[in-house]
């Protein structure tokens, strides 16, 4: 397997695994909007037992209970904001896969960009340093030597 085909394989296997859904309850919705609301919420909320899965992807008891809770809240006509507020009041911002920008989440949001800027700066500094090396001035005796070596090399190439 060529290296890049392997890389593609790895990338696609990740895409596949993120689409796994454990949500198997047969919920009935009065309207398509309600079903959409439900699907959106169970994908945005994190399961606190298996912390790298959302509610729709987890089959833990807690995820099942919280899905049931989201479903019954939608049935009583609660909005997205009300349901999210209900979850955050009990489990904190951690329950959100898309946490709000706050003092405590500052590093989380800004950190990656700060590292990116730092990396770009380091690369720029590194490249500039290397450019300086290639523009070394030669004195006349050195220049003669270089010319001599180059001409010798090209005469060899003609044979």
């Amino acid at each position: 397997m060529k290296p890049y085909t392997f890389l593609l394989f790895v990338v696609f296997s990740f895409i596949q695994s993120s689409a796994v859904i454990a949500d198997i309850e047969a919920n009935e919705f009065a309207s398509a909007e309600q079903e959409q609301q439900y699907n959106k919420l169970v994908n945005e909320l994190r399961c606190l037992v298996c912390q790298n899965q959302n509610l729709s992807g987890s089959n833990s008891e807690l995820a099942q209970d919280l899905r049931k809770e989201v479903y019954s809240m939608i049935q009583t006509g609660d909005t997205d904001a009300e349901i999210i507020e209900f979850m955050v009041a009990r489990y904190g911002d951690f329950v959100l896969y898309n946490p709000p920008f706050k003092a405590i989440t500052f590093l989380l949001w800004v950190g990656p960009f700060a590292v990116l800027i730092l990396a770009v700066l380091l690369i720029v500094i590194f490249i500039r340093k290397n450019n300086n090396i290639s523009s070394i001035e030669l004195d006349s005796s050195e220049a003669d030597k270089v010319a001599d070596l180059l001409s010798r090399d090209s005469s060899k190439g003609n044979h």
Partner: protein, 177 residues
């Protein structure tokens, strides 16, 4: 000089970050309930269906809410600690028997001893959701005014009792109701 110091510096920074990361417990999610009024509930007593238990009954006392279940493996490790805690310090520990079967919960207490002043029976785990329970066992410390002051996720060890829970309980007992 820089050529050698820069990678060494980077390495040290990396080691510091990784060692902090290793010592953090990812299961320890800060509870938004700290500093807020304990969520109200009214649940039947585990031993007596007709008796209702609710947090309001303990107003004016410092008490512990311990979430447990007979199916919970780490609760086995924690149980002797709770027994000792109730015997040595006469602390008011209320149990929340979470998503359990009534008979199993009663059996468990008969076999292992009962450190609880009373036990609320949360059959479907609905009260657990209100308390933000996600990993049994969990233990909450509630002050005289009914405010949640501390949450411990996972089994409580005797070290936790002596270093965290009892110092807090003693200072809360001195506070005015």
């Amino acid at each position: 000089m820089w050529r050698y110091l820069a990678p060494l510096g980077l390495f040290v920074v990396l080691v510091v970050f990784l060692s902090i990361g290793l010592n953090l417990d990812p299961r320890e999610v800060p509870s938004p309930l700290i500093g807020k009024t304990a969520p109200a509930f009214s649940l039947p007593d585990l031993h007596n269906k007709d008796r209702q238990i609710s947090p309001a009954q303990f107003d004016g006392e410092v008490w512990l809410l311990n979430v447990w279940a007979s199916w919970c493996v780490s609760c086995r490790a924690e149980h002797p600690v709770l027994n000792q805690l109730s015997q040595e310090y006469k602390l008011n520990i209320i149990g929340l028997n979470y998503k359990d079967k009534r008979a199993d919960g009663i059996d468990w207490l008969r076999q292992r001893g009962n450190p609880y002043a009373s036990n609320a029976f949360d059959k479907d785990g609905r009260v657990g959701i209100d308390w933000g329970v996600y990993g049994v066992p969990e233990t909450f410390v509630i002050d005289k005014n009914g405010i949640v002051r501390h949450k411990h996720t996972g089994p409580v060890s005797w070290k936790d009792v002596e270093e965290k829970i009892m110092p807090l309980v003693r200072s809360l007992m001195k506070e005015a109701a």
